[in-house]
Symmetry: C2
Subunit: 250 residues, 2 copies
DNA sequence: CGGAGCTTTGTTGTATACCGTGCGGTGCCG
DNA sequence: CGGCACCGCACGGTATACAACAAAGCTCCG
């Protein structure tokens, strides 16, 4: 919530900082990244001694890291003796989106009421300028878009200025990283998503709280349906590369 | 989230169970209770060795307990060297209620759509029967009412059947315990609150999602205003008994 | 007499040792 | 040959020891 842990991602820490980080933070950041990126697949068993040895930390900080991951819901104690990486299935995605809808709709509304209008006007312009094809490599434009989304989320948090809401959203976003990995997003959906974000940002910048909330609702509705669709379509192919099996095995 | 910790309150654990609990769970449950009940006041410094000795556990499980409390936002690292019990002021209460509104409105809506209608019809009847004066001692009726609220929350969680939403609500409710302690509730408000809950339960039981959501909105609006009012009214008297000072001292 | 640096002490972060428990393997008995 | 019981091993939970760091006080020098 407030200064719980200082560093959540490895990506945003320089090498200098990484070595100075507490061992428990390093373990948490590494495991979080590995779970989110799919290196550690759902159902993977995380033994304390094994992981401590692998990450080069002792068991005490590793236990702390596992505790935080468990609080986040990325890891669960399958039995009193064994903790595993949790699985995400379509029902989980629906549940996550129910929470996300509740929180982000409120956030959009609050941001429209009290946020910095010019900041969101700028964001709306940025969304309007997004070129998904990136003038060349397809991944470039997509990465730039995802970075812009991250900026948008940050601006939203700043505008809402509610630590409790931000903390709740953080949990949701943590899970969303895994959800996005499950669903290969198709170009058409991405283009629509850009337009939807542009509208939300514009609504906030003009202090139209209702429009901001409803546009958010629509955006999340579309995003959820797209994800579920891509899931059922790609299920056989994705089955072994995804975080999708192993749910019944628990 | 799913089976994070097994025991959250000391009250609902028998003595047999308490001694068999893990030391870290005992420490967490005890500290949580002491913070929520106000025994540990905001700003109170929680030294590791000191608390470990006091609670009769060693530093390792105590650190785990402090970590969980920090994740809950009940405790914060004021400086890298000292963790303190967090304070709650009027702004925090407003923020908490913004999150609560978002989550509970959605929960009410979802419960109306897919919950067990008869369970909420029963609850509505129970609310209708509540006698706050309890036929005798005033506290009796109030305690019975709070127990009914807890039942209602449980029924809501069961009806919504969304682990992520329940987890988010758990955090909110954890803070609400402290908020309620700050605001001495007046009899008139309590009576109104009963009626509001009755309406929400009735709306859910008749699957009227809009009414359930709007009634929840109204209820939370009234509850928030009542709390803030009681806070400003009682601020001087409550100032030293409450979790209300020490915010600027951080 | 004042300031700066060093030392000392207390506190946190990490590692490791100990102990109890649960699970698997093996051997014996039916 | 099969089932049951016992033994051993490995893992998790806890305690404790150790190291690093920060703050505060004291001393010495200017």
């Amino acid at each position: 919530m407030r200064a719980v842990g200082f560093m959540y991602t490895l990506a945003e820490a320089s090498n200098e900082e990484v070595v100075r980080m507490r061992a428990s933070d390093r373990a948490y950041a590494t495991l979080l990244d590995e779970i989110q990126s799919g290196v550690l697949r759902p159902g993977a068993v995380l033994g304390e001694v094994e992981q401590a040895a692998r990450l080069g930390v002792s068991r005490t900080p590793l236990r702390e890291a596992l505790g935080r991951l468990a609080a986040d819901g990325l890891v669960a104690q399958q039995s009193p003796r064994v903790t595993v990486v949790t699985a995400i299935d379509a029902d989980d995605i629906r549940e996550i989106f129910e929470v996300r809808r509740a929180l982000e709709e409120s956030a959009a509304r609050l941001a429209a009421e009290r946020g910095d209008a010019t900041a969101f006007a700028d964001l709306a312009r940025d969304f309007a300028r997004v070129d998904l094809d990136g003038g060349g490599a397809g991944a470039d434009g997509r990465d730039a878009y995802y970075a812009l989304i991250a900026d948008f989320d940050l601006a939203l948090d700043a505008a809402v200025a509610n630590d409790y809401l931000t903390a709740a959203l953080r949990t949701v976003r943590t899970h969303l990283v895994r959800v996005r990995r499950l669903a290969r997003d198709n170009p058409a959906r991405l283009a629509a998503s850009v337009a939807e974000h542009r509208l939300i940002a514009a609504a906030i910048s003009t202090r139209d709280a209702d429009l901001a909330a409803h546009a958010t609702h629509v955006h999340l509705h579309n995003a959820l349906h797209s994800i579920l669709e891509s899931l059922t379509a790609a299920a056989p192919a994705n089955f072994h590369d995804s975080a999708f099996d192993l749910k019944g095995q628990l």
